[in-house]
Symmetry: C2
Subunit: 346 residues, 2 copies
């Protein structure tokens, strides 16, 4: 019943409707900063939680119970698709790949066409989460954007300088193109399966999109996102595109067929919206590290972010990056309270 949540603050903000208050959720809200999450994870490892719809759903709703966020986001991981493509990935806790993609031959060995099937527990978790959410809170399904997932597959995990992925783009563009095509197709299947299971919105995380010059951004970041977003249009749910370190690419981002642009913390919202234009909602963008500065500073910073939006319709409050595991609960509470109580002064 995705339609029943069309009147929620979150979905209406995605559609840029004028609202009585600004909705809020935070990236990685189902995570280690929550004691109830750590308690559950003490009993079950990370992948088990991802792969067991009941456990994933339980974790998904934990932050809704505690803080009443205006949207839930499915507990999952952007790198599960790599496992479905046949790569051996462990999480301890950062991702470590047993092998790396280095050539076209490596790409051709990936198991395409089985992604949605191998990840069928994810739509299962969507259904289980929606049941727990009782039609009261919209649920965001998500995937990693193709370029960001590709960086992990080529680097073999996280990276400091991303030299391998960048070298691949410039020295083996046919391998890079094939990898991104494979990921684009897999993401379309995988994200589509979440929409079909009832996700109320879909989000693409492009954490590493900020590594590239305009030409490569266009080809390897924006091109794949464009294809995924177009394929999702038939589900008629809002699509959110989050990227990081891309203040210089906002003009290109404004041309993507999405409804909401997730902003990192490096630019104030008003300046970003000036570039993005009037047809996009925005989500963001408080620096997650500012949650460590104590409740008073959190309140001040939250108001600063709200004010920088200058009252334009279509703002979903969020952090500019995932919440840190050491964010104090009282600071998260101060954040939620501040956003919920805030009304534009103008």
């Amino acid at each position: 019943m995705p339609t029943s949540l069309e009147t929620s603050l979150f979905i209406r903000a995605c559609r840029r409707q004028p609202l009585e208050r600004t909705p809020i959720w935070v990236m990685r809200q189902a995570g280690r900063y929550l004691p109830e999450y750590r308690e559950l994870r003490a009993k079950h490892d990370f992948l088990t939680v991802c792969r067991t719809p009941e456990l994933a759903a339980e974790v998904t709703v934990q932050p809704i119970r505690r803080y009443g966020f205006d949207a839930a986001i499915l507990f999952s991981d952007i790198l599960l698709i790599c496992q479905a493509l046949g790569m051996d990935v462990e999480f301890n806790p950062g991702p470590v790949f047993k092998s790396r993609i280095e050539s076209l031959a490596d790409v051709s060995k990936l198991h395409t066409g089985e992604v949605a099937e191998k990840l069928s527990f994810v739509p299962g978790a969507v259904r289980a989460s929606r049941e727990l959410l009782k039609g009261e809170t919209p649920l965001i399904g998500f995937a990693g954007a193709p370029f960001t997932v590709a960086t992990y597959m080529v680097e073999g995990g996280g990276s400091r300088n991303f030299e391998r992925i960048k070298s691949l783009l410039f020295t083996a563009p046919e391998a890079a193109n094939a990898l991104l095509d494979t990921l684009t197709q897999g993401t379309i299947e995988y994200l589509g399966s979440q929409a079909e299971a009832g996700a109320d919105a879909l989000m693409l995380f492009d954490t590493h999109a900020g590594l590239l010059a305009p030409e490569e951004f266009d080809r390897y970041v924006a091109g794949p996102v464009d294809k995924v977003a177009r394929a999702m249009a038939r589900y008629n749910v809002p699509i959110i595109y989050y990227s990081n370190g891309t203040a210089g690419a906002l003009k290109r981002i404004s041309q993507l067929p999405v409804q909401v642009v997730g902003l990192d913390f490096r630019m104030d919202i008003g300046s970003a919206r000036d570039i993005l234009g009037p047809n996009l909602a925005v989500q963001g963008n408080m620096d997650p590290v500012s949650l460590l500065a104590g409740p008073d500073q959190v309140r001040r910073r939250a108001r600063q972010v709200l004010e920088s939006n200058a009252g334009r319709p279509g703002h979903i409050f969020n952090l500019g990056h995932g919440i840190l595991p050491n964010a104090p609960l009282e600071c998260v509470q101060a954040l939620v309270d501040t956003v919920r109580e805030w009304r534009p002064t103008a």
Copy 2:
């Protein structure tokens, strides 16, 4: 004799004078991609080269001899100032600090007031380099910008997520302010000593400036750079401010009292100059990784960068980040030839 080089292409470009062609040099041009550099380094370790004016000068002029770049940059390191402040830093090859700055008490233990004295080999290297350059090529002196140097001192070396420095800014702002004040003062002494020794231009490297939201950028990045640049004004040489990942902060950067803004590769030059305004020259901004793509691609990309400047006076061609150690010599040659032969078509 700094005045003798006022008519050089490089200095005239810094002053936004119309020129017959675009000058070029590349960041880290005195470095590992050069066989003559590797040969010298096989005999002397990194710090010995930095600390011995004759060796530093020899390395400084190596890329001028091979490629005839339009500016030389002193061979040195932005972290030498940390040693002068009393910290134990090794280079193997990345910097590793034996201890980290974690508190105001740690900052107060730094040996201030001896920076220029302890780094007196650096103006020595300026003088030795200028002798080898024979008044034919301008010499750039440089320092790390205070915030970037602070990140190394707080992280204890390079970093992937910069969690320590960001936490310090938000949880111990008095320690962060004291550290930045110490570095600002030291940088003024140190960079001033290079100007007094005859550096024809001064450059500040702010590689990690792109980590921050606008409020922290203003306080911890722009504030210190502003102070250093103001103190250098009396030397009447062009000041270049390079930062990385700061496309969202260009408006603030345009207010700094510098003459040239060094751009990373994430935004085309024309768009950046639209934000920076007409009173600043720019330096950049080809992606260094594109030098791995072969001479034909290098020529195409170099022309793309030149054309994106749209013929505005005040463009110094450079890479958007340091040249990679595995950049092929023939590709560097293709780059230099392309820039040197290029004339605007309009």
